[in-house]
């Protein structure tokens, strides 16, 4: 029993300590962000490796998620003779929920884990300390450009995911299952609200991008500099990002669409 209490206390204390380090780290990043805009080359390089290289996985996943939505939606809607509303069903699911959430989960797996491993290995091979000893602030030179790149890429990737998904739904619904082309788009146009649906979806993905970049960079920066430490940090990035995304999604949905 004492042992259990001791462990509980230890875990609580160390998680709070980690939260404190993480918040301090975030403040350091945010105050370094301005200097990144003065050196756009660093940012562009990271936008490429964080954002552009995630293009393929986001596009392909978006296409398949859209196709599945088209298929499943059609079977259910046709029971009620409402298959003409397939467009709005696919688009609303994607723009409100699946687009931001699934693309964020994929982004955490593709880009977040890579960021953690990269920063963790830089720490393990003393590159970060080496920069500090050269009087170069690694937060400004290494961390902040990567943070901004993640923050900027996420909403764009999420928008790409939703758009490709809508096309995927169209491909199956209109192309294969014979829903009317005009009503697919017209229903979507009539049913989707710019403010409520599209803007809210973008806000979600901005929040997710912020959280994923923060988590993955912090896990890398805070890693124990051994190969085991880096591997555990990478795992934690993916797991913690997934929990954070899903938790934040619930909170944001409740705030945006619910009356809680």
């Amino acid at each position: 029993m004492t042992h259990f209490l001791q462990r509980l206390g230890h875990t609580t204390l160390s998680s709070f300590a980690k939260l404190g380090r993480g918040s301090f780290f975030l403040i350091q990043i945010l105050s370094a962000c301005l200097s990144v805009f003065l050196r756009p080359k660093l940012l562009i390089k990271q936008l490429y490796s964080v954002g552009v290289l995630s293009f393929l996985i986001i596009t392909i996943s978006g296409l398949f998620v859209g196709m599945v939505l088209g298929l499943q939606g059609f079977y259910i809607l046709s029971d009620f003779g409402a298959e003409e509303t397939l467009g709005i069903m696919v688009a609303a699911s994607l723009v409100r929920e699946l687009g931001p959430v699934v693309s964020a989960l994929l982004f955490a797996g593709r880009a977040g884990s890579a960021l953690t491993a990269e920063i963790g290995l830089m720490k393990a091979t003393e590159q970060l300390s080496g920069m500090e000893m050269m009087a170069i602030d690694p937060i400004k030179r290494i961390i902040a450009p990567r943070f901004l790149a993640g923050f900027i890429s996420m909403p764009l990737l999420s928008a790409l995911f939703s758009s490709i998904g809508v096309l995927g739904g169209h491909m199956i619904g209109v192309g294969v299952l014979g829903v009317d082309d005009g009503s697919y788009w017209a229903q979507m146009q009539a049913g989707l609200d710019f403010q409520d649906d599209i803007i809210n979806g973008i806000i979600k993905s901005i929040v997710f991008g912020f959280a994923i970049s923060w988590i993955s960079l912090f896990e890398g920066y805070d890693t124990i500099p051994t190969s085991e430490g880096v591997s555990r940090a990478t795992t934690r990035t993916v797991v913690n990002s997934a929990f954070t995304i899903l938790g934040l999604d619930f909170i944001l949905t409740a705030l945006m669409f619910g009356d809680i």
Partner: protein, 271 residues
């Protein structure tokens, strides 16, 4: 000499420094002075905190007690901006080289110049080539760090460390894991750079032979204390049993071969 710090002759002065990591005390009130313009070696077995000492001098770690003065500045009381200004004048050579793996050899050496000076690109190019020539790697400028051997990586790191013409360089285990040729090159480079550029060099090492040939003054650390100090001759002729064991590499002596354990026979036949 013990406590009288003369800033003209001492570049680094460490007074009564204590540092612990977790429950383990790494330094317990050590004091040492590092003379300007000389090569000073800090020796001791692995795990005595030699690298930690360099990080304390560079202001990356904070001591529990005591002070570190570098060129008349108390490192741990400086503001961040002032600390960074001071660090521009201190080079450090990490054991792994710590080269940035996504930049070429040329860009690695150019990095401190690009970050800290407003020099034109052609000027930076000339400076980088000068520094690379000094370590004999001008021809390797377009290679990536993963294409370099360990010894070459360390030489590139050395070129990077002298890029800003610092007043001192700290070498963290420069000789460890080098083949005889690389070792010879490094020993020669450290000595030549120290004399040609008027640097102060601090070498942290446990390679006795090389260190004895190169150093002007040696401190031997053990258990968080200075176990012996003096010129290489004084160290070689030291009457401390511990220092003798360390420089001769005897397997048993004041430092026992066996990690502390319970009685061997009792342990074997216990079950």
């Amino acid at each position: 000499m013990e406590n009288g710090v003369n800033s003209d002759t001492e570049i680094v002065s460490i007074q009564n420094l204590s540092f612990s990591r977790g429950d383990r005390k790494i330094f317990n009130g050590i004091s040492l002075n590092i003379p300007r313009g000389k090569i000073t070696a800090i020796m001791g077995p692995s795990g005595t905190g030699k690298t930690t000492l360099l990080k304390l001098i560079g202001g990356q770690l904070y001591p529990d007690q005591g002070s570190v003065t570098v060129d008349n500045h108390n490192v741990h009381q400086l503001k961040r901006a002032d600390l960074y200004t001071l660090r521009k004048r201190m080079g450090m050579l990490f054991q792994s080289g710590a080269l940035l793996t996504d930049l070429t050899v040329f860009d690695n050496v150019a990095l401190p110049l690009k970050e800290h000076t407003a020099l034109s690109n052609s000027m930076i190019r000339s400076l980088v080539l000068l520094k690379l020539q000094a370590v004999g790697l001008r021809g390797a400028r377009d290679l990536m760090p993963n294409e370099l051997s360990g010894g070459m990586a360390r030489r590139v790191a050395l070129a990077r460390a002298i890029a800003l013409d610092p007043m001192m360089i700290m070498y963290d285990e420069p000789f460890t894991g080098q083949d005889p040729i690389s070792l010879g090159i490094l020993v020669k480079l450290i000595k030549e750079l120290n004399n040609a550029l008027g640097l102060t060099s601090i070498i942290v090492s446990h390679d006795v032979e090389e260190t004895l040939t190169i150093a002007d003054y040696i401190y031997v650390l053990s258990d968080g204390k200075v176990a012996g100090q003096g010129t290489p001759e004084q160290i070689s002729n030291s009457d401390s049993e511990w220092v003798q064991q360390f420089i001769k590499g005897n397997s048993d002596g004041p430092v026992h071969f066996h990690y502390p354990a319970t009685d061997y026979h009792k342990d074997l036949f216990e079950i």
